[in-house]
Structures are given as structure tokens and as C-alpha cells.
């Protein structure tokens, strides 16, 4: 594959995979927590949280990217504090690209997980409690296995969204080869220079293959998980 793709193109593909993977994996615990809170808990500010989670879905991506830049940029107070006190830097780094991708993909992940949590009958969790299971054990042994298909769907959606994220990424962390030039940024960049169409087209093919592969994988995993749950057989 390295022969077919030029070094610059290969770099963009590898970077995109890394960014999307990190964005998905790192946001998963938060995604599960927020989805669980929205599905099961009634607390003041629940609608505000719900709106906040969905904001990246309805705002123009460029706006989200600009907000990130305002909050976490090198000159922003929070960004400077993170950089100086904790050594975490987002601005113009691949970590920033991953953060932007994670935030843009977060609503999709939370929606999928939340729907699957809402589909779990709380009566089963009650039954587990009467059998002596603590809240944590109930979540680990009852809720989590039952939402596995939804979890996989959420992760795949998040991964696909992260692979394709462009607007917020380019606004927040620019388009630096090897750091922040992900697949979409690279395609965009190749189209700006004469003779770049061939490279762009190859990257388009790669994007399509990765997207379809991810979709097929998620379908297969979800079906296997559902079969293991025995959910296909109805019972009164």
C-alpha cells in the first residue's frame, strides 16, 4: 500500500487513523457516563447538559473550532494553564485534532449509547439489586453487556465522524503535515495545488474503503453481541 500511496498521502492516512482511534477511545468513558446520566437520572440542568452535548451537531463546525481555539489556544488562559501546569498541549498538535474530532463526534456517540441504555429494562436492574448486586456490579454485569450493540454502534459512528472531521479541525489546529493534516485536510490541500488531483483521488478511495470497512465491522460485531444476548428469541 505504501507503494501505491505517496509518503505524504500515507502520512495523512496514518494520522487520521490515529486521531480517529484516540478520539473514539478517549471519549468513550465520558460518552457512557453522559448517556447513562441522560437516560437514567433526573437532575436539574439535565436539559442544559443535553443541549450542550448536541451543540457541535447543530453549530457550524468552524464555530466549534473557533470556540476551541478561544478556550484552549496557546494564548487562552485555560490552554496556557494546561500547557504550563500539566504539559498538555492541543494547539497545532495532533492531540488538538483528536480533541476537535472527539467533540464533533460526541453527540453521535452519546445518542447511540443513550438509546441502548433506555432500551434496557430497569426491572432487570432491580432484580439484580434484590440479588445483592451493588450499583457498580449491576452496571458491569447487567447494563453494560446489554448495551454492547449500542456501544459498538456509537463507537463506529464516532470513529467515522472523527475520520471525516474537517471544519473544526482546520480552524482549531490548522493544516500542518504530520501533525494536523488528516485525510480531509490532505484532500483539500492536494486540490489546492496543480497536479494534486491524483493524490486527492487516491485518498478519496482510501476514505471510502475505511468507512465501509468500519460499517461492516460494526454490523458484524453488533449482530454477534445481539445473538449472545439471546435477544432474537422473544419471551413472554
Amino acid at each position: 500500500m505504501t507503494g501505491w500511496l505517496g509518503p505524504e498521502e500515507w502520512q495523512a492516512v496514518a494520522l487520521s487513523l490515529r486521531v480517529a482511534l484516540w478520539a473514539t477511545v478517549a471519549s468513550l468513558p465520558f460518552g457512557i457516563f453522559v448517556a447513562y446520566a441522560l437516560a437514567r437520572w433526573r437532575f436539574p440542568g439535565r436539559q442544559v447538559l443535553n443541549g450542550l452535548v448536541h451543540l457541535p451537531l447543530i453549530l457550524p463546525p468552524v464555530v466549534t473550532g473557533y470556540i476551541l481555539l478561544l478556550v484552549l489556544g496557546t494564548n487562552a488562559p485555560i490552554g496556557r494553564w494546561l500547557s504550563e501546569a500539566l504539559g498538555i498541549e492541543f494547539a497545532f498538535r495532533w492531540t488538538g485534532a483528536a480533541l476537535a474530532a472527539a467533540i464533533m463526534a460526541f453527540p453521535l456517540m452519546v445518542r447511540a449509547i443513550r438509546l441502548s441504555i433506555e432500551a434496557v429494562d430497569p426491572k432487570l436492574e432491580q432484580a439484580a439489586a434484590t440479588l445483592g448486586a451493588s450499583r457498580f456490579r449491576i452496571f458491569r454485569t447487567i447494563t453494560l453487556p446489554m448495551i454492547l450493540p449500542g456501544l459498538l454502534t456509537g463507537m463506529i459512528l464516532s470513529f467515522a465522524k472523527a475520520m471525516g472531521e474537517f471544519g473544526a479541525t482546520i480552524t482549531f489546529v490548522s493544516n500542518i503535515p504530520g501533525q494536523t493534516r488528516t485525510l480531509p485536510s490532505a484532500i483539500y490541500a492536494f486540490l489546492q495545488v496543480p497536479g494534486g488531483e491524483a493524490s486527492a483521488l487516491r485518498l478519496v478511495v482510501v476514505s471510502v474503503v475505511i468507512a465501509l470497512g468500519a460499517l461492516a465491522l460494526s454490523e458484524w460485531l453488533a449482530r454477534r453481541a445481539a445473538a449472545r444476548l439471546g435477544l432474537s428469541e422473544g419471551r413472554t
Binding site: 432487570l124 432484580a127 445483592g132 448486586a133 450499583r135 446489554m146 428469541e233 419471551r235
Partner: protein
Amino acid sequence: MSLDLRLRHRFGAFTLDLAFAAPDGVTALYGHSGAGKSTIINAIAGLVRADEGRIAIGGRVLQDSASGLWVPTHRRKVGYVFQDARLFPHMSVRQNIGYGAAAVADPSTVVDLLGIGALLDRRPGSLSGGEAQRVAIARALMSEPEILLMDEPLASLDPARKAAILPYLARLRDEARLPILYVSHALEEVAQLANTLVIIKDGRVLANGPVADLLSDPGLARHVGIRGAGAVIEARIARHHDDGLTELSAAGGPLFVPALSGEVGQALRLRIEAQDVMLSLDRPHGMSALNVMAGHVTQVRSGEGPGVLIQLSVGDEGAKLLSRITRRSADALNIRVGMPLFAVVKTVAVAPGDIGPIGNT
């Protein structure tokens, strides 16, 4: 071990306000839908937090609103069998019954008791309603509860499955030594299983006592339904006859019922519906009915309709029988409290479904 409970709870216009104690054995909570039965056991399990009250099992306090004590569900040691079995669909039967069990617990006793040995490797989705319910009971027992709460565990089953599972429940009552709180609005189940009966009406305790006393009380008959009114009496299998009948020795004399499978000497519980008991001033002869018991009238209660409920005491131990006859017949026989009478019970009146072994009452 026994349960002591006092609760006050409001939701909307409905107020639950009651107190009762449940000793070892089966205590049936009987009442119409919406009487508050499920709320009571949900409060015991900690699934509903009652506004006010105190719940204790054998001295271990689970809730006390006076001191603010509240034990969460998973530390209450209650076994709960729900109306819908609520088995975990992603686990095998074996994993389900092991879920609440200590790691070293041996399931073989419980598995035998409920006859689910052949189901252990199946998934809940492939079980019938009756099988699922038996697994649910096994699962609750394996968590070694200090009380077993059963919320209409048979209500979702058809009569055949119900009849199949009742003997398992009777065995459970006799072999597992713990208080069982059994919510039901099926009189046959109550009569067959319960030692103690608590009748709940509109969130209050209407009556509370041994099941035989309450079911033979004409004053309570309208709350359990006049049509279903009937006394519960105890008997033993005396002989199996060749003509397809089994002879029982009951208080008040021998009773003949269609052949039973039990061994001679086995204790049974019979439910005799009031409408199946005729009364006669003299010992009847020249009649097809085989079962005649001598006794005397202890209560006469006429309702609003044409019927009169008569309570009889039969035998030396004062077993109570209920008879429902018309007011016209009662007047014709001039029935008064204290007068001697003969009760005629048709053989077929003792339905097999209403016969159950007597527990440690």
C-alpha cells in the same frame, strides 16, 4: 425469623397505612388490584421508599423513618420473585441462579427442589413461562435471603402451568425455612399455600390471621368474593380404594375424593367451597353424596342477596366449614346458632387443584 412491618405511604389520592407481622411459613397478602399489595413488598425490598414506617426482619431493621435508617436493596437479603420472571437474557440459567449466590454455594439442593436440572445450560429466551418462573425462584433462593417476596408469581401462567408449579411452591414452603410473603389475588393459591392470611383493602389491613380461620369467616366472605367463599380444612390420606376413590380422614369424619397420588398418612389441605356444601337436619340417607360431616352452627350471616352464609364447626377440634344456602332454605330449616346439623359435601367438590400438603402451621 419473622417480619414486622409498619408503613405509611401516599401516592396521589391513595394512602397506604398498615401494620402487620408475618411469621415463618407462607403469609399471603390477598386483595384486589390496586389495594397496595405490591407497594408493600416493594417497600420491603427497598424498591419503593415509603414515606414513613419501620420494617424489620427477625430484629434486623431495614427501614426506620424515626431514626432515618434506610438499607439499600442490595444489602437487604430479600429474595424477590417477580410476576415477570426477570431473568437476565444474556446469561444461561446456571449463570442466572448463580448471580446472587456466594461463590462456594452448591446449587444442587435448590435445583432439585425446583426440578430445573435439565434447564441449566439453556438461555432464558428458550424457557416456557413456568420454567422461567421456577428458575427465578431458584435464583432468589440461591442468594440465601432472610425473607422471600413473591409478587403474584403464577399470575402470568395458564392454569395447567399454574397447577404444575404449585407443588414446587408447597415443597419450598415445607423445606426452605424462611418467611415467605406471597402476593396473590387467586384464592386457590392462597388456600393451598398460605399459613397466614393478610387481607388488604384500600391500603389497609382488613383482617389478619390463620388462613383456615379467615377463609371460614362468613363476615369476610364478601371481601374474598361470595362465589369463591370456602373453608380450608386439614385431612390425612387414610386409604386408597379400588373404585378410584381415596378416603381421607378429616375433622368431622371420613371424606371420599377422586384418587390421589399421595401416600397413606400424608397430610393434605382441602378447600371446600361454600356453594358445594348442603345442610340437613338429620343424618341423610338414600342420597348419592358420600361425604357427610356432623357439626353445629357457629355463625349465620345473611347478605343483601338471597343467600345466607352459615359457618359450621365439625369434629372434635372445631374445624370450620362454610355453607351457602338460600335465605328461604335457612328459614325453612329454622337455622340458629348452636343447633346441630349435618353438612353434605359432594365428592367432586374437592378439586385436586385445591389440595395441598399442610406446612408447619
